[in-house]
C-alpha cells in the first residue's frame, strides 16, 4: 500500500512541477494545487500506515492506549495544511483572474515588465 501511495506522491509532484513550468498562469495555479496535495499525501504516507485500532480510549477507562494504534497527529497536520492550502489557493485564483484582467493574456511571457 505504501509503495502505491509513494508512487502517487511522486506522480503528483512531477505533474505539479511540469504544470508550474508552463507559461499559462491557469496551469500554473493548477500546478500549485497539485503541489500542496502532493505534500499532504507525503505527510500521510511517511508518518506510517497503520492497519490497527483507532486511537480512542474507551469511555470510563483511565488507562493509556496499549498495542498498536493509528497516529492521529499526521491527520491533524494534513487537515491544517489543507485548510491553509485552500485559503492560499482561493487567493491565487483571484490573483490570476485580476492579472488576466490587467494584462489581458494568459501567458507568463507577457508579464516580464517587472523583471528588467
Amino acid at each position: 500500500m505504501s509503495t502505491l501511495l509513494a508512487t502517487a506522491v511522486g506522480v503528483l509532484y512531477a505533474t505539479a512541477i511540469y504544470l508550474i513550468l508552463r507559461r499559462s498562469i491557469v496551469k500554473l495555479v493548477i500546478g500549485l494545487v497539485l503541489l500542496s496535495n502532493a505534500a499532504n499525501l507525503l505527510i500521510f504516507t511517511s508518518s506510517g500506515l497503520t492497519r490497527y485500532a483507532p486511537p480512542l480510549i474507551p469511555e470510563g477507562s483511565d488507562t493509556v492506549l496499549n498495542g498498536i494504534v493509528a497516529d492521529p497527529l499526521a491527520q491533524a497536520l494534513i487537515l491544517t495544511a489543507i485548510v491553509i492550502g485552500f485559503g492560499v489557493l482561493a487567493f491565487a485564483v483571484v490573483l490570476i483572474h485580476r492579472a488576466y484582467e490587467v494584462v489581458k493574456a494568459d501567458d507568463m511571457d507577457q508579464m516580464k515588465d517587472t523583471d528588467t
Binding site: 500554473l28 503541489l35 504516507t45 511517511s46 497536520l77 491544517t80 487567493f91 508579464m111
Partner: protein, 501 residues
C-alpha cells in the same frame, strides 16, 4: 510556568492580532484605524523590549500552550535570537506605521491596509517565537497571506506581475517546507524543535536526515532570497507602496534567515557537513550576484532590492562559517541590516514624494534643494557599504574576521569586493539623485497629501539608531555574543524546553 512568562512570550503575537481585529471592526473609521496602527505597533515595541530585557536577564523563556508538557503541546520559546528579532520587528513596525500615516492613500486605507499590516506583524512574530516546526509553517503562511494581499493592494499592472512570481515561488517554498516536515515527522515522530534535536542525534547515519536538511535549506533559502533562489524578490519588492516595500525589505527575508539560523544550529548542527560547504558557496554567490544585479539597475527601489540579496549573503556567511565569532557577526549583521534597509526604502519614498519618480534618470538636484535629506541618505547608505563608524562596518568587520580565522580566503575576498561594489552602487544613487541637475522633463511631484514631517521623523529616528549601533557597538556586540553562545549551546535550549532530563 508563571503568568509573566506567558504574557511576555504571547504579547508580541497577541498585540498585532488584537490591533488587526480592532482595525477590522472599525473598518469605516480611517482615523481610528490610523490611531490603532500607531498605538498597536508602539505597544508591540514596548512589549518586545520587555521580552528582550527579561530574556537577557533570566535566560530562555518557554510558554507551554494550554499547559501541555513539552514534546506533546505547542511551545513558544523566546531565546535571545528570537527576542532580538521580535524587537526589530517592533521597531520596523512602529516606523512603518508612523510613515504610513503620511504616505498611504485613502484608497489603500479603504482596501484594508492597516488590518493586513498588523496581521503581517503577528505572523512574523509568531514565526520568531514558536518552538514547534509545524507551528513555524503555520506562522509562515499567516505572514505570507498577509504579504500577498499587501503586495497587490492597489491592483496596478506591475503589482500583478510581481505578485504572480512572488506568490508562486513562495508557495513552492511552503510546499517544500511542508514536505520536509512530513518526512521529518515520519522519521522521528515529533515536531517540537528541541525534541527533534534530541531524536535526530540517534539518526546520524540515516541518509534521510541529509535529504531533509537539504529540503529545509531550499525552502528557507527561497524565503531568504539566497542564490540561486532569489528571483521573486527583485521582481516584486519595488511594486507595492513604499511603506509596504520597507516592511517587506526589513522583515520578510529575515524570517527566512532566522529559520536557517534556528534549524541549522539546533536541529541539524552544521559541523563539517556537506550542508555547510553548500551554504558557504551559496553565501558567496548570493553576495556577489546581488551586488552585480544592483550595479546594473537604474530604479531606486530595484537597486535596494538587489542589495537585500547581497546583504543576505553576509548573514549566511556568518551562519555557514559556524564559528562562535562568525555567528556573532551574523547576528550583528541582522540587527544592523533590518534597520538600515527599512530606512533606505523609506528615504526612496521621501524622494518620490518630492520629485515623483523612482527612476534615477528622472531624479536630480536633491542636494541643492534639500541638503538635510542628503545627509539622512548618506548615513544608511554608507552604513550599508560598511564605512566606519557606522553599524555596517562592525557587522562586516566581524563576519570577515571570522572568515579570515576560518581561512576561507575566497569567501573573504568576495565579501570585501562586495563591500566595495556596494559603495559604488550607493555613490551611483548619490551622484544621480543628489548631485546631478534635475533633468529636463522630469516627472511631476507626487500628489501632496499632508506634510513630509512624519516621514522625516521616521527616517531621522532610524538613522540615529544606525549611528548609535555604530558608535556604541560594544553593548550590541555583547548582546550578539550572548546570542551566539546560546545558539551554539543547543543543550541549554533543549533543557529549557523539555525540562531537565
Amino acid at each position: 510556568m508563571n503568568s509573566a512568562v506567558a504574557l511576555q512570550t504571547t504579547l508580541p503575537i497577541l498585540i498585532p492580532l488584537i490591533s488587526g481585529a480592532l482595525s477590522l471592526v472599525l473598518w469605516r473609521s480611517r482615523q481610528l484605524q490610523r490611531g490603532i496602527s500607531v498605538l498597536g505597533t508602539g505597544a508591540l515595541m514596548i512589549a518586545s523590549v520587555w521580552l528582550l530585557l527579561s530574556v537577557y536577564a533570566d535566560g530562555i523563556q518557554v510558554m507551554y500552550a494550554g499547559n501541555w508538557p513539552a514534546p506533546f503541546g505547542i511551545v513558544l520559546v523566546a531565546d535571545l535570537l528570537s527576542s532580538i528579532m521580535v524587537m526589530l520587528t517592533g521597531i520596523t513596525g512602529l516606523a512603518t506605521a508612523v510613515y504610513s500615516l503620511a504616505t498611504i492613500s485613502k484608497k489603500h486605507e479603504h482596501y484594508g491596509y492597516y488590518p493586513l499590516m498588523h496581521l503581517l506583524l503577528a505572523g512574523v512574530n509568531g514565526a520568531f517565537l514558536t518552538g514547534d516546526i509545524f507551528n513555524l509553517y503555520v506562522w509562515f503562511e499567516v505572514m505570507l497571506v498577509a504579504s500577498f494581499a499587501l503586495l497587490i493592494l492597489g491592483g496596478e499592472r506591475a503589482q500583478m506581475e510581481g505578485a504572480i512570481k512572488y506568490v508562486t515561488l513562495n508557495l513552492v517554498s511552503s510546499a517544500i517546507f511542508l514536505s520536509a516536515i512530513g518526512l521529518l515527522y515520519g522519521l522521528t515522530g515529533t515536531l517540537n524543535m528541541a525534541d527533534l534535536a534530541v531524536k535526530l542525534a540517534d539518526h546520524q547515519d540515516n541518509p534521510m536526515v541529509q535529504v531533509i536538511a537539504m529540503l529545509f535549506l531550499m525552502a528557507f533559502g527561497i524565503k531568504a532570497g539566497a542564490f540561486p533562489l532569489f528571483f521573486w524578490l527583485p521582481a516584486s519588492y519595488h511594486t507595492p507602496r513604499v511603506a509596504v516595500s520597507s516592511l517587506f525589505a526589513g522583515l520578510l527575508t529575515k524570517v527566512g534567515v532566522y529559520a536557517l539560523f534556528r534549524v541549522f544550529t539546533l536541529i541539524f548542527p552544521l559541523g563539517d557537513s556537506l550542508t555547510r560547504d553548500l551554504l558557504l558557496g551559496m553565501a558567496g554567490a548570493t553576495m556577489l550576484v546581488g551586488v552585480l544585479g544592483a550595479a546594473a539597475q537604474f530604479e531606486f527601489r530595484r537597486i535596494l532590492s538587489f542589495h537585500i540579496i547581497s546583504q543576505i549573503g553576509y548573514m549566511l556567511m556568518g551562519l555557514a562559517l559556524y564559528t562562535p565569532l562568525a555567528i556573532i557577526g551574523g547576528v550583528f549583521y541582522i540587527i544592523h541590516h533590518i534597520i538600515v534597509k527599512s530606512n533606505l526604502f523609506l528615504i526612496s519614498g521621501l524622494i518620490y514624494r518630492l520629485q515623483g519618480s523612482y527612476d534615477l534618470k528622472q531624479l536630480g538636484g536633491v542636494w541643492r534643494s534639500h541638503p538635510m535629506i542628503g545627509v539622512l541618505f548618506l548615513i544608511p547608505a554608507l552604513s550599508l557599504a560598511g564605512l566606519p563608524p557606522l553599524s555596517g562596518f562592525f557587522g562586516k568587520f566581524i563576519v570577515i574576521k571570522a572568515g579570515v580565522e576560518a581561512q576561507q580566503w575566497w569567501l573573504v575576498g568576495v565579501a570585501l569586493l562586495v563591500g566595495l561594489l556596494t559603495l559604488y552602487s550607493m555613490t551611483k544613487i548619490w551622484a544621480e539623485v543628489f548631485w546631478k541637475e534635475l533633468p529636463e522633463g522630469a516627472a511631476a511631484p507626487a500628489q501632496q497629501r499632508g506634510g513630509t514631517s512624519l516621514m522625516v521623523i521616521t527616517i531621522v529616528a532610524l538613522s540615529t539608531m544606525t549611528v548609535l549601533i555604530g558608535v556604541a557597538a560594544e553593548p550590541v556586540y555583547k548582546l550578539a555574543e550572548h546570542t551566539a553562545s546560546q545558539l551554539l549551546d543547543s543543550q541549554a535550549y533543549i533543557q529549557s524546553v523539555l525540562g531537565v532530563n
